[in-house]
């Protein structure tokens, strides 16, 4: 069977494919495989990895506790202007991470909207601390979870809740026993997404939490610092982070 080829399409497709694929190969080629145990065994690397895992997991749990009810509320909103409220919640999704970090610093910094009264009354300073790392990660990743869960909740027949209430259930009972189990796959997917996003977080963290080894230096920050001192080590750490992200997404 003769099929006229479509070179005007296949050539740019191949170039695009190569451009996305080559850096992966380049990264693998640059990893110092023999030095890998030594690099990964360094104390500051172990600290950065541990901090990354702790903060990403904390952020994902915060997303679960705060984001799922928020998604439920957004999916049930019926009042005028609810489109604007939803847009406000999704602004952090399109906000560049550095801008997000700046916004967090402007708010929770010593002279910020919340930070100034907080510091004056209790002496607490939020930025450049481990909680700041977790807050930055939560801020950038929560909208992902909210979008995923809200979509699943909207896909659900709203009459399911009505049916539960007609059987004598309160709203909270209906949510726990009917809605939540029905959207469990969406919640799980949203949490994985949020975790992966939090794990790779760089811009908001460096802006809001700085780069203090052991306290706020997560793996992405450690990679950035290694780039000038020891590029091979940066490649090795990048590989670790890439593998963790891919595992989370289930590829």
């Amino acid at each position: 069977v003769t099929r006229p080829a479509a070179w005007p399409l296949l050539v740019p497709a191949a170039v695009g494919f190569a451009f996305l694929l080559l850096p992966l190969l380049g990264l693998l080629a640059a990893v110092p495989w023999t030095r890998l145990p030594e690099v990964l065994g360094r104390r500051e690397v172990a600290e950065a990895l541990g901090l990354s895992l702790v903060s990403a997991t904390s952020a994902a749990l915060l997303c679960l506790v705060l984001g799922v009810p928020l998604a439920w509320w957004l999916s049930r909103m019926r009042f005028r202007g609810h489109g604007f409220v939803r847009a406000l919640v999704l602004v952090p999704l399109v906000m560049p991470p550095v801008v997000g970090g700046t916004a967090l610093l402007s708010t929770f910094g010593r002279s910020g909207l919340i930070g100034a009264p907080l510091h004056q009354t209790s002496g607490i300073t939020v930025p450049y601390s481990t909680p700041a790392v977790i807050m930055a990660a939560t801020f950038v990743s929560m909208p992902f979870l909210v979008v995923a869960v809200e979509g699943t909740l909207r896909g659900l027949d709203p009459r399911l809740e009505t049916a539960a209430r007609a059987l004598g259930a309160s709203r909270w009972y209906a949510f726990r026993r009917v809605l939540l189990p029905a959207v469990a796959p969406g919640v799980a997917a949203g949490m994985v997404l949020a975790w992966a996003r939090a794990l790779g977080e760089f811009g908001a963290t460096i802006a809001f939490a700085g780069n203090l080894p052991g306290t706020t230096q997560t793996l992405p920050l450690a990679i950035y610092l290694s780039l000038s001192k020891d590029p091979a080590a940066a490649s090795a750490l990048s590989l670790v982070l890439l593998v963790a992200s891919l595992l989370a997404i289930g590829l």
């Binding site: 049916a163 209430r165 009972y173 209906a174 026993r177």
Partner: protein
């Protein structure tokens, strides 16, 4: 021409009859969004009342008002007890759905997808605080009573057939021992093959339920075979409330006539003759005054050629609609001269199709079989 039809007994929704314990009385305005429908109706314990009507006629709104899912706009909904009446909805507030003890069978059943059939049936008891063991035992008994096996009781709704889901929904509605049973088109989700079977089962369950049974449908077969009384909601009012036999014999709304597949006209009976509108189609009658007249579609013949001899009830017309189905076509015609003929529909069997195509706008000759006209008081 038939003799005078007996005057229907239940023209109004509120006969003067005394209310008895278990009955519901609605006297008010139901509605939702911009829609308002004033209604005065009784729902009797031990009686199945079918609400029949097109989409948007207010059937589901009425059902949800009875069940407490939406408030009554004006007036009162009373439930008669052995020691006086309780206000379920009224100016002072509404008993909410979760405290009203209404057994709902929702459209598409709305079974909870992540629970087994057993957990679905036990849900209402659990939500009201009954312990897990007791609730499950009671749910299992209810499912057994409706003929589901233990394996089916342990399956999720997705793994059950349409008919089985329907029975689970019925069991869930009955499990809380409700005061009333409210069914929203309970058979619509079933395919034609299993529907007759399921209908017989619903019929048997409804018989056993002691309280008022209210069933919403837009299917005439369901309405005729399940209802003790049928209430027809049409064009923003309660158009007719009658027994199934009266509904088929003396339909009072075009909607019902369309469902029955017959023509309905309003006419005038005077000095022993019946006339329909301005037309010259007539028949002898024993009635007097304004009447309604039915004419089966099969009693109208449509020909594409002029008949050899024009009878009294033959007239020229144009085809204004052609509707096909698996068994034949329905042809709506409009008379060329409205003073001579009738705007009506005729039924043409499939067998005549390949030879004589009846096209929209084509001129035809229609003949009405006057012996098939049936008149009854307006």
């Amino acid at each position: 021409m038939n003799a005078q039809a007996p005057r229907p007994q239940h023209r109004s929704g509120t006969p003067g009859a005394t209310l008895r314990p278990g009955d519901l009385r609605l006297d008010g305005v139901i509605g939702r969004g911009g829609f308002r429908l004033p209604l005065t109706m009784d729902f009797r314990a031990g009686e199945t009342l079918v609400l029949l009507g097109a989409n948007g006629a207010g059937k589901s709104t009425l059902l949800e008002t009875l069940g407490g899912l939406i408030p009554l706009l004006e007036g009162e909904l009373l439930r008669i007890g052995s020691d006086g009446a309780t206000v379920l909805s009224g100016p002072r507030g509404t008993v909410p759905a979760e405290r009203r003890r209404a057994g709902f069978v929702h459209q598409d059943y709305l079974l909870f997808p992540r629970m087994t059939a057993l957990e679905n049936v036990a849900f209402g008891l659990r939500a009201r605080g009954v312990g897990k063991k007791e609730a499950h035992a009671s749910a299992a008994a209810q499912l057994r009573r409706l003929g589901l096996t233990e394996a089916q009781a342990g399956s999720r709704p997705g793994a059950l057939s349409g008919g089985q889901r329907q029975r689970v929904a019925l069991a869930r509605a009955l499990a809380g021992e409700p005061d009333m049973l409210l069914l929203d088109v309970p058979l619509a989700a079933l395919d034609a093959g299993t529907r007759a079977q399921a209908r017989a089962q619903v019929y048997a369950q409804l018989r056993e339920f002691p309280g008022p049974r209210v069933l919403v449908t837009h299917d005439l077969t369901d309405a005729l075979s399940l209802g003790d009384r049928i209430a027809v909601l049409d064009q923003g009012t309660l158009a007719q409330i009658d027994s199934p036999a009266e509904i088929t014999r003396t339909p009072r709304t075009p909607y019902l006539a369309e469902l029955l597949g017959i023509n309905l006209f309003s006419g005038l009976a005077r000095r022993g003759r019946l006339s329909i509108g301005h037309s010259r189609v007539t028949a002898p009658t024993e009635l007097d005054g304004r009447v309604l007249v039915t004419l089966p579609r099969e009693a109208v013949t449509v020909n594409t050629e002029a008949p050899a001899k024009a009878g009294r009830n033959t007239f020229e017309a144009r085809v204004v609609a052609v509707q096909e189905d698996a068994q034949g076509i329905t042809v709506a015609v409009s008379p060329t001269d409205p003073d001579v003929g009738l705007a009506c529909s005729a039924r043409v069997p499939l067998t005549s199709l390949p030879t004589a195509p009846i096209r929209l706008g084509a001129p035809v000759w229609a003949t009405v079989d006057e012996s098939a006209l049936h008149a009854y008081p307006f």
